[in-house]
């Protein structure tokens, strides 16, 4: 059962990471948690890029997920981190589904700029809305986890475990999608949408689906980030946040789901150490880092271990799901 087997691999990876978290110092645990939650939003961009779209406005879904998770305790009395994360994800997915039919009519830079425009509209609304704290944002109430109160001593680790668990599940779902009929059609739409239409499939439906998946992942990343940080603000949907996600997506490449999280972690490490040793010049280090990757690894860091693209025909007897992402 390929699906079951790949799911078992995903669970094993989550367990190993969770065990590793026990050994990690507190600063690394926080850094890794943030990297992984940001990685989810980036994974959304990668899914969209694979399907022929490019988003400069992923911050919108990130912010929707974050604000929904942040407002749950006050509005619905929900404090559980899992429920808040899933509700944040669903809210972002619903918003994506509303705009998807319109956006799917566009391609290239027009599509990207429309996503940016939507995210900046939300930025303006959040900045002006006093009900959600305006430019100051909201303080996020501490979550509970499956009935457990997260005391300061164990909160960091349990939130790390939750983040890893949800992210590995999401990554597994993306791998299943990539190998599915819709996943292959999405790739074909990116390569030649006219041909796909002439074969009788809808390139707009395919792109809209990729966009909704992008929104779901962005919302989940935002919801987790809000609960880990304890604060949300309109900057979550600012163009600089969206740009950072695109930056990581370029760094990761599109060949590997794992590369997205590795790239996100690398960015956080480079930023943290640059800030420490070269204050106020970390953008210089970041830019040089990106330049290096584009010049010497144009396929992203994922190409380090997925150099030659695996194809359906490479392994005639083995169904797609059994292949590594």
């Amino acid at each position: 059962m390929p699906l079951v087997r790949s799911f078992a691999v995903a669970v094993a990876i989550a367990l190993v990471l969770a065990a590793g978290g026990l050994l990690a110092p507190k600063w690394l645990l926080f850094l890794a948690t943030m990297s992984v939650s940001h990685g989810l939003a980036v994974l959304g961009i990668v899914v969209l890029m694979r399907g022929g779209g490019a988003s400069f406005g992923q911050g919108m879904f990130f912010a929707i997920g974050a604000y929904v998770a942040a407002s749950m305790p006050q509005t619905l009395g929900i404090t559980d981190a899992v429920v808040r994360s899933l509700l944040g994800m669903i809210a972002a997915g619903v918003v994506a589904a509303v705009f998807a039919p319109m956006l799917a009519r566009y391609r290239g830079i027009f599509f990207a700029m429309l996503t940016l425009a939507l995210s900046m509209v939300l930025y303006g609304l959040l900045s002006k809305a006093s009900a959600v704290g305006g430019t100051d944002g909201l303080t996020v109430a501490k979550p509970t986890l499956l009935g457990l109160v997260l005391t300061p001593g164990r909160a960091d680790y349990l939130l790390f475990v939750l983040t890893v668990a949800l992210s590995v599940l999401a990554a597994w779902a993306v791998v299943v999608y990539k190998n599915s009929v819709a996943g292959l059609l999405a790739q074909a739409v990116r390569a030649n949408s006219l041909r796909v239409e002439y074969l009788g499939a809808s390139s707009q439906r395919s792109l809209a689906t990729s966009f909704v998946l992008c929104g779901l992942l962005g919302g989940l990343g935002g919801a987790i980030t809000a609960q880990v940080l304890g604060h949300v603000e309109p900057d979550f949907t600012n163009w600089t946040t969206s740009g950072e996600f695109v930056f990581i997506a370029v760094l990761a490449g599109q060949q590997s789901v794992a590369a997205v999280f590795v790239a996100s972690l690398l960015l956080e490490i480079v930023r943290s150490f640059s800030n420490l040793y070269f204050p106020n010049t970390w953008q210089l280090a970041l830019g040089a880092f990106l330049l290096f990757v584009i010049l010497f690894r144009p396929g992203g860091i994922g190409s380090l271990w997925a150099g030659r693209r695996k194809t359906v025909a490479d392994t005639p007897a083995v169904p797609l799901q059994e292949r590594r992402a």
Binding site: P2, N179, G183, L185, L194, R195, L199
Partner: protein, 250 residues
């Protein structure tokens, strides 16, 4: 007499001052293999583009199985059974040959599952059957970007056939193929079509290919049909010789 599979009546299309279709009337009965000839700019590809929905005629009507499809999108027309290949093959370059065919098979079946594998047994079997028929089995794992022009042409036609179309329109199936390989390529295509109920219309410049592989020839000149009939009759027509084949009438 039963209605023709395809019926084009009074088609007109202009691009500024250029007349690409001028009162074009063509009926295509089911099962026929016909070729469309004409010099560059005569309106052959415009006709194919109008029938397949890429261009909308300025006037006139196109019917498939007596159903008006004039204003339908190219996707809807494909769904009704008119599929085509292109003068410049339209393929997904970064995918492999097999993956291109899996896309075509999935599109033909109307499948759009977020979790169902793209290469499940049924879909793969159909894709591999097309690979075999077009002699592409050894190229299955190769990205399209690595393929030679002739192989790309074959794959483009194989994609169009995945849906088991009622009408298959091939736009210059042998262009870009070397003179030595043209007949072999066309033989391969015709062999692959055996067993398919498809009516085949192909646009072609090579008159040897036309006379050998078609039952009927339609000649275009300046957007008009100037001759229509059996190959020997049309290719011997004085107007066709003058405006299309470029020789002199004997």
């Amino acid at each position: 007499m039963s209605a023709p599979l395809l019926s084009a009546r009074g088609l007109e299309k202009r691009f500024g001052a250029v007349v690409a279709a001028d009162a074009v009337n063509i009926d295509v009965p089911a099962g026929q293999r016909l070729s469309v000839i004409g010099s560059n700019g005569a309106g052959k590809t415009t006709f194919v583009n109008m029938v397949t929905g890429y261009l909308k005629p300025d006037a006139g009507e196109i019917r498939l199985d007596d159903r008006d499809i004039t204003r339908f999108s190219h996707r809807r027309i494909a769904g009704l059974g008119i599929c085509r290949s292109f003068q410049i093959p339209q393929l997904c370059l970064e995918l492999t040959v097999l993956e291109n065919l899996l896309v075509a098979v999935a599109a033909a079946g109307g499948h759009f599952s977020l979790w169902h594998p793209a290469d499940d047994a049924g879909q793969r079997e159909r894709a591999e059957s097309l690979l075999r028929r077009f002699g592409l089995t050894n190229d299955a794992a190769r990205p399209v970007v690595e393929l030679a022009g002739g192989v790309r042409k074959l794959l483009d036609i194989a994609l169009a056939l995945a849906r088991r179309p009622k009408l298959l329109m091939l736009d210059e199936p042998t262009s870009g193929v070397s003179a030595d390989e043209k007949f072999a390529a066309m033989e391969r295509v015709m062999e692959a079509l055996e067993g398919e109920a498809a009516t085949v219309l192909f646009v072609e410049h090579d008159m040897d290919i036309v006379s050998r592989f078609s039952q009927r020839v339609i000649a275009f000149y300046s957007g008009r049909v100037i001759a229509d009939g059996e190959p020997a009759h049309v290719l011997g027509d004085a107007g066709v010789i003058r405006f299309v084949t470029g020789g002199t009438a004997r």
